[in-house]
């Protein structure tokens, strides 16, 4: 790697490259913060501008955008309970309650710091472990996908505040919503009720906004709440938070590892990473009850892992030419436009370019922390806007977002329809989180199940397929543990929890 250092340095010391890196991060943050406009869209929108650039400049800009976009999603998640990108979904669980308590700037600062740390860890994994990790990613076949999805679904237990039964019902509804459209393996359309636009399924972003944002906007006006008293700033908060986070190395590493692994697996993105990491944070904590009430750990867990996922999703891209997540697919497109075909040979053919990109990637994360911390001072001011102006504007922005995602008017109608339904369901005690969880994981589970069945039919034994694969067995055990451990710990009393805490966190 050292022999490429001159190349890397000469490229990175160019003022244009550094400027575009910062601009990329900044635009990414802005676009990511707008509900409905995801990191993927930020990349897609700006892709054409990179065509005329040199290949290193183009890659650096795209990397900055990707990192900024994923971070930006947390801003609207924290301020208005709306994940700006799906990756920020778990950030809403504790971020928004923090805002309600008037601690929005703390949440934003914590998100910036933990995103940056997660991103850097992800970037280092990308820099040093790419070849090892890429081979490992290939071991993920259909049965493993199925079990990852099931493992994710066991989180319903953590996420259904209040009634477990309602949480499970919500999960099933989400899973059913996820089956709308052309079936991934059978190829037939289901539950489209004659709307051809529904063949491609319900758009996750639209459902996310509908279930998280619309009910919140309605609650905003119904209670006649006075707008929050702005955001209180406490001096030295950044320093305090930084040391608070740093003092939990296991916690940070666990969240990052979850993010990196989820990133490497193609088909599971930042949303799954943030959810899994949040779930782990709750399970290993000895203060489970305070999660969901505005605990800073919840924000840290989610943000660390969704930014570590960025690095992870680029691992299979750089080593195998397979994008690990939708935004990585667009970076693949950017490379192809430059006449570079990422594949197994990329590292050996373009080592200078790859290393320049990787180091720029780490730098971009540092830039992102700086922007994030500077911004957290001012961004919170949004909340001091009176509700009579704020609420209609949020609805207006969500309409733009839901339409822009795939230029489909039906999505706008679905947004409002599902939004009103979500409001009623929320009042009837159905938490939106399990529903959205089902929608995210349903397609992964279904594809994994159906493909495993086909593979099993060919080998003559479906069960053997599930039980003969090491990763599959480990995942199955994790599922079983995840379901029964909480029950066991209840039976054995609180002793068990304490020992878990020492092991895990």
């Amino acid at each position: 790697m050292l022999e490429f250092l001159p190349d890397v340095l000469s490229s990175l010391t160019q003022p244009l490259n550094m400027l575009l890196l910062c601009v990329g991060v900044l635009i990414g943050i802005v676009v990511g913060a707008l509900p409905g406009l995801t990191a993927t869209m930020a990349l897609a929108l700006l892709l054409p501008f990179t065509f005329t650039m040199d290949s290193d400049t183009s890659l650096i800009t795209m990397g900055g955008l990707y990192i900024g976009g994923i971070y930006g999603g947390c801003i609207s998640a924290i301020l208005i309970n709306t994940p700006g990108t799906p990756s920020a979904i778990a950030t809403t669980f504790d971020g928004y309650p923090m805002t309600k308590k008037g601690k929005a700037s703390q949440a934003l600062a914590a998100a910036a710091i933990s995103s940056g740390i997660g991103g850097i860890i992800g970037g280092l994994a990308l820099l040093f472990l790419t070849p090892v990790l890429a081979d490992w990613a290939l071991n993920f076949g259909p049965p493993e996908y199925f079990w990852v999805a099931i493992l994710g679904l066991t989180m319903i237990a953590t996420l259904s505040s209040g009634s477990m039964l309602k949480g499970l019902i919500g999960g099933c509804i989400g899973l059913l919503l996820g089956t709308v459209g052309i079936s991934p393996v059978g190829g037939e359309s289901r539950y489209t009720f004659g709307f051809s636009q529904l063949q491609s399924g319900l758009e996750l972003i639209v459902i996310l906004i509908a279930f998280f944002c619309i009910p919140e906007v309605i609650s905003m006006i119904e209670n006649n709440v006075k707008s929050q008293e702005g955001v209180k700033r406490e001096k030295g908060i950044v320093k305090t938070l930084f040391f608070y986070i740093i003092k939990k190395p296991f916690f940070i590493i666990r969240s990052s590892v979850i993010g990196i692994i989820t990133g490497i697996i193609p088909g599971a993105g930042g949303n799954v990473a943030s959810l899994l990491s949040y779930d782990a944070a709750v399970r290993f904590s000895n203060d489970k009850k305070s999660f969901g009430q505005g605990k800073v750990d919840g924000v840290v867990a989610s943000e660390t892992s969704n930014n570590a996922e960025v690095g992870g999703s680029l691992v299979p891209l750089l080593s195998l030419g397979i994008p690990g997540a939708p935004p990585a697919a667009i970076i693949l497109g950017a490379l192809m436009m430059q006449g570079i075909t990422p594949g197994p040979d990329l590292m050996s053919q373009q080592p200078g370019l790859v290393y320049t990109f990787l180091i720029a990637f780490v730098i971009a994360n540092v830039v992102m922390i700086m922007f994030g911390l500077m911004g957290s001072k001012y961004i919170g001011k949004v909340l001091s806007i009176p509700v009579s102006y704020l609420a209609p504007s949020i609805v207006f922005l969500t309409i733009i977002g839901s339409y822009a995602i795939r230029n489909n008017f039906l999505d706008v109608a679905l947004l409002i329809g599902f939004g009103l339904l979500a409001y009623v369901m929320k009042n009837a005690g159905f938490n939106p989180a399990p529903i959205v969880l089902g929608l995210i994981l349903g397609p992964i589970a279904e594809r994994g199940l159906a493909q495993s069945m086909l593979l099993g039919e060919a080998s003559g034994n479906v069960l053997a397929l599930f039980f003969s694969r090491p990763i599959s067995i480990v995942l199955m055990l994790l599922c079983v543990l995840s379901i029964f451990l909480p029950l066991l710990s209840k039976l054995l009393g609180s002793k068990y929890d304490d020992s878990q805490e020492k092991l895990g966190a």
Partner: protein
């Protein structure tokens, strides 16, 4: 007569949804129905459990307690109206109407402002917000925005 509580009503709705979901999978091939049908069945079982639970343990709390229902209904209807307006007049016009109307309506109980001031503020904010974001998305980000049937 004993009042039916909302849990019973929602459980019955859920049972109907589950049955519909299962019914809709008929005629599909195995690979297409295996997953939705299984989920439909689980939902059906859970909903029945929910129904039984709601009968045994009837909660006294009512849906939408302590909520200003009038405001919520008007807000909901306005949002539905907004969608219809977009399909007719296109995004920019509909947004001006919606933001203007909502801002004005939500200020109703504000006694510090005169009626005239409310209308002026509502109009200014609706026009400036709509145009700012319209220009930003349409021309800076080149994101297409919905156009209406009548004009766009």
């Amino acid at each position: 007569m004993q009042k039916v509580n909302y849990n019973t009503i929602s459980s019955v709705i859920l049972i109907i949804v589950a049955c519909l979901a299962i019914w809709e999978t008929k005629g599909l091939s195995e690979m297409s129905y295996v997953f939705p049908r299984t989920i439909g069945l689980i939902l059906l079982i859970l909903s029945i459990a929910y129904y039984i639970k709601s009968m045994i343990k009837s909660s006294s709390s009512k849906l939408f307690e302590g909520i200003n229902k009038r405001k919520v209904v008007i807000m909901s209807l306005s949002m539905i109206g907004y969608v219809i307006l977009i399909s007719l007049f296109g995004f920019l016009m509909a947004s001006m109407l919606f933001i203007g109307w909502m801002t004005w309506y939500l200020q109703q109980h504000n006694t510090d402002k005169s009626n005239k001031a409310k209308i002026v503020h509502a109009s200014i904010s609706s026009i400036s917000i709509s145009i700012f974001f319209f220009v930003l998305f349409r021309y800076v980000f080149v994101v297409p925005l919905p156009s209406g049937l009548l004009f766009g």
